[in-house]
């Protein structure tokens, strides 16, 4: 009985600072400046510029999620195969960059990718033509992959490292090729980690506004930029909230996916 009381502070906190704030977004999103009920803020997603921004955001975040998955899965396999005893150390290596501020890390990419930046400097040394990398969608994807890769690696590594070696040995003993082992053993067992990783990458990538500003030269308007501008510059909080509600739909889909494939929280990143 007394144990239940322990959740008291948390439940109050959750209501006060998670549920009520979200309810306020709902309120703002469904009203206009005079406080009257309207769906206009939500329907605004259908206007050409918003729809385009959303579409672009979906495309870029999907691309970066796929890149992250393709990079992270082999990496997690390598890490698993290494069987480095100090699992924590590997994790530290991926968490460590986070101690260097997120904005600075992204700005550093600007320095690397710019026309007269570091990478083009190297290319010039090798007598290769300079590449135009900054302010392109590819630069934004790179920024997303860079910033969110750890969130894909860690959950996958977590589920992979929990797979018993004997399971794999058994498969090999029974004559499975390494491809078959991968396809029939490793992949199915790592689904919770993959789903969790996809979520942890896709959602922040979908909603970012900083990366597109810094690496896209503000030429590429993502849905996150639109929302941010409505709140900080356009001062139309109702429209900003309405568009946030649209984003919430994607987040709810993510949560539903997690609930379906990762019931026991095996795929938690941390």
């Amino acid at each position: 009985m007394s144990k239940k009381l322990l959740s008291g502070p948390y439940v109050l906190w959750m209501i006060g600072f998670t549920i009520i704030p979200l309810a306020l977004i709902l309120y703002y999103g469904l009203t206009d400046r005079s406080g009257a009920f309207t769906l206009a803020n939500i329907m605004a997603i259908a206007t050409a510029e918003h729809a385009k921004a959303l579409w672009l955001s979906l495309g870029l975040s999907l691309a970066s999620t796929i890149c992250c998955l393709l990079l992270a899965y082999p990496l997690a396999m390598v890490l698993r195969a290494k069987g480095v005893g100090a699992g924590s150390f590997i994790v530290f290596i991926f968490i460590l960059p986070m101690w260097m501020n997120f904005l600075l890390r992204t700005l550093a990419w600007q320095t690397l990718l710019e026309k007269s930046g570091v990478i083009n400097g190297f290319l010039a040394l090798l007598h290769l033509p300079p590449q135009n990398m900054i302010n392109t969608p590819a630069a934004i994807i790179l920024g997303m992959v860079y910033n969110f890769l750890p969130f894909m690696v860690l959950p996958i590594y977590n589920v992979l490292s929990k797979i018993d070696d004997n399971t794999i040995n058994a498969a090999t003993d029974l004559g499975a090729s390494s491809l078959q082992t991968f396809w029939h053993i490793l992949l199915p067992l790592s689904v919770p980690g993959i789903i969790s990783g996809i979520n942890m990458v896709f959602v922040p990538a979908l909603t970012t506004f900083v990366i597109s500003n810094l690496l896209g030269g503000s030429k590429i308007l993502l849905i996150g930029n639109v929302i941010e501008q409505e709140f900080t510059k356009g001062s139309n909080w109702h429209l900003g909230s309405g568009l946030s509600l649209v984003l919430m739909i994607f987040i709810l889909i993510s949560m539903a996916l997690i609930a379906k494939y990762d019931k026991n929280g095996e795929g938690n990143a941390f």
């Binding site: 924590s88 150390f89 994790v91 530290f92 600075l104 490292s161 308007l221 930029n225 510059k233 941390f270």
Partner: protein, 645 residues
């Protein structure tokens, strides 16, 4: 065969690991290198220096931001640990249905978009009437930290043997005693890893802090963001390098211990072995606890100290553009008047306005631009200045007071601080290479030969000004067909534009990133000086296009809800003193409207036409006017169309 296959596989996996590590650490190494760069520019290497490390230690902004960042990270992680661990224990003993619901809600702050979390919290704080500041950041960080703790502790709880706790109770132990003796040691690694994670997340957060912070408080993230527009101070790189290396060394030390024999099944994130209670040796736990205790004591002492020292009623809240004052001047003002100044910065007028309007933070004196002052006057957000308290107003050249009348008709609300023009900055060498004549008209920004070489201003009115002036219209037009025309022009220009920037244009032009850029005249002195210092092989020239341009004024005003109006007037008067205005001019290099200060300048500077152009030659130029909310919305909508094209 199988052996070569294996070593090949080994080779590739090593190669891949190294590749990823380079990818992860390349930007960090870049930053570290830049922290030793003499030049402020990110793209030019000016030589080796340790000066930024010294500057970092002596910059009060950085130190205070570092202090708040660490304090917030620490306190929020600690609070999250206490609330989260308690919650995890409770959740563990819940019925499955309740458990699912609670865990579902727990996931929200983790899965939700940061921008939505940040905005929703901001709306809630405003609705609850909590003014934005330290506590709102702290509450927000605790909110998004709790889930990380719960999720780290839950798995550990599952592994504990419930019977031992019951056995302890049966043997007569008090529940609390039993908890700390029996359960807590088991879940300790989970709590610790939750703490570390929460600390890291808090440290790295920008977006949520961005929306929930208030006056006079910056974390490193928000400080950096406010610098991004005007160019990051390299001392920021220095600080980050120090933090990074400290953490690296700490991690190496804690990880360097005699290797325990472990099988692969034991590896678990962060805590280093879910099934290994001993994976964190006792002495490390103890020293962590001791360190935590010391930090709490330190923080509490510091907060009370801060509270005590800032409790004086004699204070002033200043809201100004980023890097728009010589910090020394603030210190001089504080010393002379005994007034405590809380100094805060904004990047755009549009960002400043809702802050003043919502009254979330009560500033006493603000420095917006012309059209925004007009908007604030029309919406009753300003109070008349009592000029009896500002005797130095006569130092301001009457020309500028006359100019001010376009937005403040009776000169009642504002005192000019800086003024200038907007023009085209071009790289003489680059222009030649591209075979283009030096620009003298806005229309040159539509020259296809300059594709990918143009930097445009990333703000609605500035961008439309360029297009409207090019079309020969007024930049204050509200005529929809003229605006549509301008929009189309901007859309046509977009493929030629390299980037839309605000103050970054300065660094990019110095770095030779682009051939032409739209800039504010105030940046010129700095730009030319820097080009000279770096010994670059090109020059940057400034031209005011012949079609006329935007004449702008930034002036001090006092918000209607200011709590310290007289102090605000003292501040304005202080800044109008010629020697103070001169000091500021030398630091920020934006043209001063202060005649006294102008007379003190070297003749060479007085005659520098890109800084102090002859006003008679600018008859086609205009000052921005506020067009009303509806027309503003039209501009915004059209601009959004341009940006999303």
């Amino acid at each position: 065969m199988s052996k070569t296959y294996r070593s090949l596989k080994q080779f590739f996996s090593n190669f891949y690991l190294v590749f990823i590590l380079i990818f992860l650490y390349a930007p960090i190494i870049t930053m570290m290198v830049l922290s030793f760069n003499t030049s402020k520019s990110r793209t030019q290497w000016g030589g080796f220096t340790l000066a930024w490390y010294q500057q970092m230690l002596s910059d009060p902004n950085i130190i205070s931001a570092l202090y708040y960042t660490l304090l917030i990270a620490f306190v929020s992680a600690l609070a999250a640990c206490i609330i989260g661990t308690a919650a995890a224990i409770a959740i563990d003993s819940m019925k499955p249905v309740t458990k699912t619901i609670v865990l579902g809600v727990t996931n929200i702050p983790m899965l939700n978009a940061d921008i939505v979390t940040g905005i929703s919290l901001m709306l809630a704080f405003l609705a609850f009437g909590i003014s934005l500041g330290f506590k709102t950041i702290l509450i927000s960080h605790i909110t998004f930290n709790i889930p990380y703790v719960i999720l780290s502790v839950m798995p550990k709880l599952k592994q504990t043997n419930k019977s031992t706790y019951e056995a302890a109770l049966d043997l007569g132990a008090h529940p609390l005693y039993a908890f700390f003796k029996v359960v807590f040691p088991d879940i300790m690694p989970g709590v610790l890893s939750g703490f570390l994670l929460a600390f890291t997340m808090s440290l790295d957060d920008f977006i949520i802090t961005h929306f929930t912070r208030g006056a006079g408080i910056n974390t490193l993230s928000t400080l950096i963001y406010s610098q991004v527009r005007r160019g990051i101070q390299p001392s920021m790189y220095a600080l980050s390098s120090v933090i990074f290396l400290t953490v690296l060394v700490l991690l190496l030390i804690t990880n360097y211990r005699p290797r325990q024999k472990k099988s692969i099944h034991d590896t678990d994130a962060l805590s280093g072995g879910a099934f290994h209670k001993n994976s964190l040796p006792e002495r490390i736990q103890k020293s962590a606890m001791a360190a935590a205790a010391v930090m709490i004591l330190f923080s509490v002492a510091f907060i009370t100290f801060k509270k005590y020292t800032t409790a004086s009623s004699n204070e002033l809240y200043v809201y100004n553009w980023g890097e728009y004052i010589d910090e020394e001047v603030v210190a001089m003002f504080e010393e002379e008047t005994g007034i405590d100044v809380t100094y805060d910065m904004f990047e755009t007028n549009e960002e400043m306005y809702p802050v003043i309007e919502a009254g979330a933070v009560r500033y006493d004196v603000v420095c917006p631009s012309d059209y925004m002052i007009q908007k604030m006057i029309e919406n009753d957000l300003l109070v008349e200045i009592n000029f009896e308290n500002v005797p130095n107003i006569h130092q301001i050249n009457p020309t500028y007071l006359e100019m001010s009348k376009s937005f403040d008709p009776q000169n009642k609300y504002s005192v000019p601080y800086c003024w200038g023009t907007v023009g085209i900055l071009y790289n003489t060498k680059r222009i030649q290479e591209l075979g283009v004549e030096p620009p003298d008209s806005w229309h040159d920004l539509w020259n296809p030969a300059l594709a990918g070489e143009i930097l445009m201003q990333d703000s609605v009115r500035d961008a439309f000004m360029v297009a409207l002036k090019d079309l020969g219209y007024s930049m204050n037009t509200a005529d929809i067909s003229q605006l549509q025309e301008a929009k189309q022009l901007l859309i046509d220009q977009k493929p030629l534009v390299q980037a839309y920037v605000i103050d970054q244009v300065r660094d990019k032009m110095i770095g030779g990133e682009a051939a032409v850029g739209v800039v504010y005249s105030g940046e010129m002195l700095y730009i030319q000086e820097e080009v000279q210092n770096l010994g670059l092989d090109y020059e940057l020239e400034y031209v005011i296009p012949k079609e006329g341009t935007n004449l702008w004024l930034d002036s001090w005003v006092i918000p209607a809800n200011a709590a310290n109006k007289e102090n605000a007037e003292k501040w304005i008067d202080f800044l109008c003193r010629p020697e103070i205005a001169l000091r500021n001019f030398e630091y920020i290099t934006y043209p001063t409207p202060n005649d006294g200060a102008f007379q003190l300048l070297e003749p060479e500077l007085q005659n520098n036409k890109s800084i102090f152009p002859d006003l008679d030659h600018l008859e086609d130029s205009e000052v921005f006017q506020y067009l009303g909310d509806e027309d503003d919305a039209v501009y915004n909508a059209l601009w959004k169309e341009v940006k999303s094209w």
